[in-house]
Symmetry: C2
Subunit: 363 residues, 2 copies
């Protein structure tokens, strides 16, 4: 166990937003929310997955909705507590720990706010090893574990508890409620035992995010290339360097969907990269060829600072570098690809691991 | 207290569908559902509002959605029990009675199925004195009583419990969930004490429905005009007699919305009546003049048999008589009209009680 105080969140929010692959929420807002809770209630005890008792009751706390809305409709911090308490009441037993559903600027920091406010420890883990746009896209789904009962709350005081026949139905009902709540809401979901957490989640995501953030920060200070750092820590490849030439984005059915066009120069020739996204980056197409797809991580970073750029922040003229990195191996199985592969998102493309695409291109 | 067995539901379903003003569900399906539950579990004890203990816990059970869908997606009877039990669990105390949210072919009979299956008494009352399309359109809303927590369930096994800041929000969230569930779902809502039921609900609606159904049946048998019976029992007026000339209907946002054109002859001249509906009939326009609006009851009856015609059943060529009757006086207050008056439904019309319109026209 370690204790995380207000200042410990700086690097973590930065690194988590890199892992968020364009989604997972704004790291600045997320950091402020968690810091404010820690200032008010005291520091947070973070436990590793190994330290968890098998009979612990662990619930993920997260934000749900369209990031385009979230940056303007900033949570006040009470919504997530309301969702958490509603689920605890529904379960009829005390929730012993909280954890993260995904890695992301907000979704890695919100659980700190919950842990601080409710004085419960936070488990250093997440269910994706990145961010994905839908609730069923969590590794526990592959283990037959249920996302529901889940609770959802808004800033006005509305709450719903949903219990469904499968995790796709959880997503479906929660998404409609999220849209009604103003396209962003706070949720508590995947009530798992400690044993189930150990079996199905990814351990150490917070530690990874913090280390990544710290390395980016050091590189900046020491005038090294921060993008090299991201690439080497995540075993990734550079896909592209260039300027944002166009962004086409719309908020639809509770998601931010769209396409971003990047323009660059390589060996004296004009080159292009197209990114398609649904909250997170789903696919990268370089000069007409697919060079990375979900579930691999596609990360857009400011070329100069290595700062992650979320999909809702993308703007004409930004100078960015796109890095891709391998996802958790469980997402690469047939069962995993059925949940988060390119075909689930409507692309008629077979998934090929990013390192294989790169190897094929360079040979 | 009286006991209602299988056969006692024949007249009740017929009369309730008249009071349903075009909505409230199909009386045939409603009757079968309740009769099947009574056959399986035994007769239902019906108590009057006066017999109710002040500390009773009374919950309404109902169907929610678009009647156009409900006639094809027939409930199996388990959904409403699931909703009822989910709300009971959420409340954390036993529900002692069920009752009707509204009068209607299904919504007056479904509570019999719940009462039979759960072996609890049914309170002879409803919250509208008719049917209305939205959840907040219940008299308890005028008393500041809450529709939520409410539970909603589908035939697949999905359940949600919703707790909102006001009854409009209950409607909003429950409507979205209903649409996801396939445009029809079963609900349990308005958990009220016996004292609150006495204060805010309409007593004796089941008795009224049964008596109305019995009178229509007697009139048919004795070759009297069954429409005279409806008119005199409800203190109503005949608005129109004619044939259905056109029906324009669409299922939208969980409602059946549309318009029905009737054509008739009066004193050697062609006459017309236009009915606009949202599940229930909202407004009647005769030869270009508004002759009745919500919250007054606008009932379409088969001219020959007096059988109520629901909005989803309206078809070209049907010979019908339209009768309007006064609503509960509480709906005619400013507070009532804000909830169910013509302006709430988007019509730029002042509400005038149907008997005043008739008096003005005949003078």
């Amino acid at each position: 166990m370690r204790t995380v105080s207000e200042h410990g969140l700086e690097h973590l929010a930065l690194g988590a937003a890199v892992l968020g692959t364009g989604g997972g929420g704004d790291p600045y807002v997320g950091k402020l929310l968690a810091q404010s809770a820690i200032r008010q209630h005291g520091p947070v005890n973070v436990v590793t997955v190994d330290e968890l008792e098998d009979d612990a009751l662990v619930v993920s706390s997260a934000m749900m909705g369209a990031p385009t809305v979230m940056v303007e409709k900033i949570p006040n911090g009470d919504e997530v507590i309301r969702a958490f308490k509603a689920l605890e009441d529904y379960l009829g037993q005390p929730i012993t720990h909280t954890t993260s559903a995904e890695a992301g600027g907000m979704n890695s920091t919100i659980p700190f706010a919950v842990a601080a406010a409710l004085d419960i420890p936070l488990v250093d883990a997440d269910m994706m090893g990145r961010a994905f746009p839908e609730l069923q896209m969590c590794l526990p789904t592959l283990y037959g574990l249920s996302a529901s009962p889940m609770a959802i709350a808004d800033e006005k005081g509305n709450v719903a508890v949903i219990e469904t026949i499968d995790n796709l139905w959880t997503e479906r009902l929660a998404r409609s409620v999220t849209v009604d709540m103003g396209c962003s809401a706070m949720i508590a979901l995947y009530a798992l035992t400690g044993a189930q957490v150990k079996e199905s989640m990814i351990a150490g995501t917070l530690q990874l995010a913090e280390s990544l953030g710290r390395s980016i920060e050091s590189a900046r200070r020491e005038h090294r290339d921060p993008i090299d750092v991201v690439q080497s820590e995540l075993g990734g490849v550079r896909l592209f360097e260039g300027k944002v030439a166009d962004v086409n984005r719309h908020t639809q059915a509770g998601f931010a969907r769209g396409e971003c066009q990047l323009a660059g120069r390589d060996a004296g020739k004009d080159t292009s990269l197209v990114l398609r996204f649904q909250n997170e980056h789903l696919i990268a197409i370089r000069d007409g060829e697919v060079v990375a797809t979900v579930p691999d991580l596609i990360m857009v970073l400011e070329t100069e600072t290595g700062a992650p750029v979320t999909t809702e922040e993308l703007r004409y003229g930004f100078r960015v570098t796109v890095v891709a990195a391998p996802c958790d191996p469980r997402w690469r199985t047939d069962e995993g690809l059925a949940v988060v592969g390119p075909r689930y998102f409507g692309y008629d493309i077979d998934y090929v691991p990013v390192e294989e695409i790169t190897r094929a291109k360079s040979s």
